[in-house]
Amino acid sequence: MVKRFSSEGKDAKEDPSSSSQTILIPDELCEKAGLTLQWSGIGELGIHAFKHVDKLSIDNPSEFAPTDTFVHNLRTDSILFEPVIRKLVNESNGTFLAVQKLTPSTSARSETLALSRQYRSIVRACIENLQISELDKNTTYKLTPQQRQHYVAIFYNIEFIWHLCEILFVDSVPGAVVLPHLLDWIRFHFPDTERAAGQILTGPLETGAELRNSDYWDVVIGLIMQGSLEPARALLRLHSNADSECFLQAESLLKTLPVFKVYGGLSTAEFRTRWHTWQTNVSTKVESGVFTSEKNLNTVMKIISGDESSVNDMKSHCETWYQLLVAMLLYKEPTVKTFELNRYATSCMGYFGGPERMKVLDEIIMDLFECNILEVIKKLHLSSDSGWAATHLTNLLHYCGRLNIDSQAYDSRLDENLLIEYGCLLMSHNSLWQVGVTYLDHCGPQGRACLELLLPRLKPGSESRTLKIIQIAAERDMPNTVNSICKVQGMRCLQRKRIGQALCWALKSQDPGFATHLADKLLLEYTKGGTFNCLDLLDNLGSCMLISDRLTFLGKYCEFQQLFRNGATREAAVLLTSLFTSKLCPKYFTLSLLMDSLPLLESTDVTLLSAEDTSNLLSCLEELADDCASSANQAAVMDKIKLIRLAMNKNLAKSLIFEACHPQILD
């Protein structure tokens, strides 16, 4: 049964730092008897009903018997494993790896900014994919509307937070003017006003727009608050009274509003002077009642004059406190520095009910304005994206040199722990494990230790998969891991009765004991059946055979047979003698090997085995005969021994005579 067990998760909002979820296991026996949990694999676990027994317990059936008992096998799941979101996992991996090529530095750099934007683009592409996946008829994969909405919410919020984070920590040097970016942020995420303005401006371009569009003034004020002055002025020109004195005055003031440009050539001080002069001018005109005839226009002008009393007007045009914050800064403190934001943010939040009314998103934004990166990371980590955002953002901020805060409180780099957790999560997935590896690669010794632990535990599948795992381990210089995986693969082949392939893996695993075992198996099979079952491999062992004495013997023995088959009897005889003298021959095989000497002994060519060779062979034979004599039921063996002994004695006699007659051959 595939089920997802429900959890009575407390709302993370209550206390994000200590939230624990309760997972109910739908099993009556577990409720009655209690339960226990056993971890397995990578990120899997099993749960079953359990009652402790010990030495004092009487070995009787339990009070519940007879009963059905269940094991519930659970596997960690994550939204990152959803097919549509896997694209984000893979695509962001490319960006992550690009980030790791940088060296950490606090200076604003185009590289970090570009990579931060790349991350955001990927999040947006993910949101887009979530939205279009509903329409795509060519795919069998479907999400429910609730899921889709849920996922979109997660990633929308991530992008929103990331954008602000980028403005405050990636793309800024301390003390720089930050407002133009904040305006972009607000405009991007609250585009309704501009959209509405666009609609009015695509209508008839003649005066009387306020009569045709009921939202006319809302739009104008909205634009003013977002600092979109061009469209605001265009709209004002469409007002029925656009030609009146107060509108003309407003137009000229708006036209001359000084805009701070980061690369505008003006120093902050110069800009402030200019701004101050301009705003005093506006205030004077507002106070002298120039705009009182047009109530709404008067509101607009009060806003741009930076008048305290306009805050309530502004608030009614904002959905959130941070919109108000940016609008307020625009007309009160346009050169505000990052570290001053905190103060203004707190007061704006006050207008919206203060901290008690704040949701997680508000809190995170507030933390950002307070430059409390740690808190941001903590809260992001608890969001339901399985740590994707926290991991990647923290890592990026590390490379922006923003994480050396409170470093003494931590054992290691702050981002490393997150990377390890994220990497391990991906490693628990049947398919995404390869991506997981690249994260663990960047976590120092601990990441490496994780890889050594997890790589061998990846579930075995086809040989191609195993070869890929081995390649990953080999590339990272983990010989023990490689050898262990090869050995296991060899054991699997052995169980599948593929001895040749098992030997192949034994050689790769550099396990002499295993190679010896397999060589024994092959030799024993040969003594029974008279054939080798993997000659193609044995004939081409090369220097690999040196891994074990037994395998060397086997390899050499095959070479002997090959020589003999090919009619190279002289070379065969030399090899055979060396097989005896090297003492590599296992006891159980001595008889076979001696039997192989028969055709050589009986050959008409006396010089094949010299007298010395023959006596060597003879001593081996007698050793065997002694062993056999001590054990019963060896009649058949003894017959063979007699046969060989006879042949040997004959050959010994012949070769002694021959050598006596031809002494020069021995020299």
Partner: protein
């Protein structure tokens, strides 16, 4: 990414990718097969050639999924046998023949199963063995597997034509037909075997080695016109070249990629161009046209035969060593590129980062 590369992310690692070739025109459809996913798929993609689109549209034209089909096990090989029929093999030891029904035959393009050869590859204990490769010669098909077995099939029959049960004691990793009766296989230990299929003996005609170090062979091909010229990729990323007319000792061994070569392919129309991709995320273009041209100018080709000078640069160790031009078609990605296919001036490749990339405007 540059204008020449269009990528599309999928939610599965891509094991194999092949164009559905059309005669004389650019292909607009390709097929991918995934691997290592809980549920694998065969996917039919649509990617319109440039000629059918306005320049501006083209910039936004990404490969699109047209049809998906569930597939049991990893897709281990895809091979077109006609312009709309292809063979596909699985890690569950099954081989299937599929037909692409286009919009003239069905309401929408889709795949139809024509023949299934179940349990082509298996172990003695009954466990399924991965089918690791397919070779085709006209109607004849050979399949190889981890179980060391060779199966011969015909596109017209659901029965196996012939089975060589213990063709190899190691697992077979790659294969190709040299002639209609001659099959070449390579195994995990780099043993290359030539099988004479007319012989009824289940023994290879000859055996030779990829390298002395017992490095596994990962892929093998022959030259499109000079079939005696054989190239194999190894687990160590090297390319080995043989001239099978002379002997089975390699002509050259070129160190190429730093990890195993996943696939290699000569350009079907322009065999002076070779392409390779690798497990460390590289895809390379090997251009020998300048060398071929030079040697052609230097001496009439008939002269060179007489003089014993090899015209094909692959068979000339010194040329291959010194003057081969090699280009990376795109920057290396962090995951293996498992497969690619060529169609005229375009190349499509499938990778373990769950993406397909189409590279256009190959410089041929």
């Amino acid at each position: 990414m540059g204008d020449n590369v269009h990528g599309a992310f999928l939610s599965q690692k891509i094991g194999k990718v092949r164009w559905k070739t059309e005669f004389g025109v650019d292909a607009e459809t390709f097929v991918t097969g995934s691997w290592d996913n809980e549920e694998n798929q065969l996917i039919l993609w649509y990617y319109p050639p440039l000629s059918e689109l306005q320049e501006e549209e083209y910039l936004d034209a990404y490969p699109q999924v047209v049809y998906e089909q569930q597939f049991e096990g990893d897709v281990t090989e895809l091979k077109f046998v006609t312009n709309n029929k292809f063979l596909v093999s699985s890690s569950f030891g099954r081989v299937q023949l599929f037909d692409i029904l286009d919009r003239t035959q069905a309401a929408k393009a889709k795949l139809r199963e024509v023949i299934t050869w179940d349990t082509c590859h298996y172990f003695k204990t009954g466990e399924r063995s991965s089918c690791t490769g397919i070779a085709t010669f006209e109607e004849d098909v050979a399949t190889i597997g981890e179980d060391g077995r060779i199966n011969l099939l015909s596109l017209h029959s659901e029965r196996l034509v012939r089975v060589i049960d213990e063709a190899d004691t190691s697992s077979l990793r790659c294969t190709c037909f040299l002639k209609h009766n001659e099959l070449l296989t390579g195994n995990l230990r780099g043993h290359m075997k030539i099988w004479d299929l007319r012989s009824h003996e289940d023994k290879p005609e000859s055996t030779f080695m990829l390298s002395g170090d017992q490095i596994g062979a990962t892929c093998v091909i022959h030259h499109p016109t000079q079939r005696h010229l054989v190239l194999a990729g190894g687990e160590d990323g090297a390319l080995t070249v043989w001239d099978l007319r002379h002997n089975t000792f390699p002509v050259t061994v070129l160190t190429a990629h730093s990890q195993s070569v996943s696939e290699l392919q000569f350009h079907p129309d322009r065999p002076e161009h070779l392409f390779t991709c690798s497990a460390n995320g590289e895809i390379w273009h090997w251009n020998t046209s300048s060398i071929s041209r030079n040697s052609a100018i230097g001496s009439a080709s008939d002269m060179s035969v007489i003089a014993g000078i090899e015209d094909n640069p692959w068979l000339n160790p010194d040329v291959a060593k010194n003057r081969m031009e090699v280009y990376a078609l795109m920057p290396a990605i962090s995951q293996p590129i498992n497969s690619f296919d060529l169609n005229r001036t375009r190349l499509v490749c499938g990778c373990d980062n769950e993406a397909v990339y189409v590279i256009k405007n190959l410089m041929l």
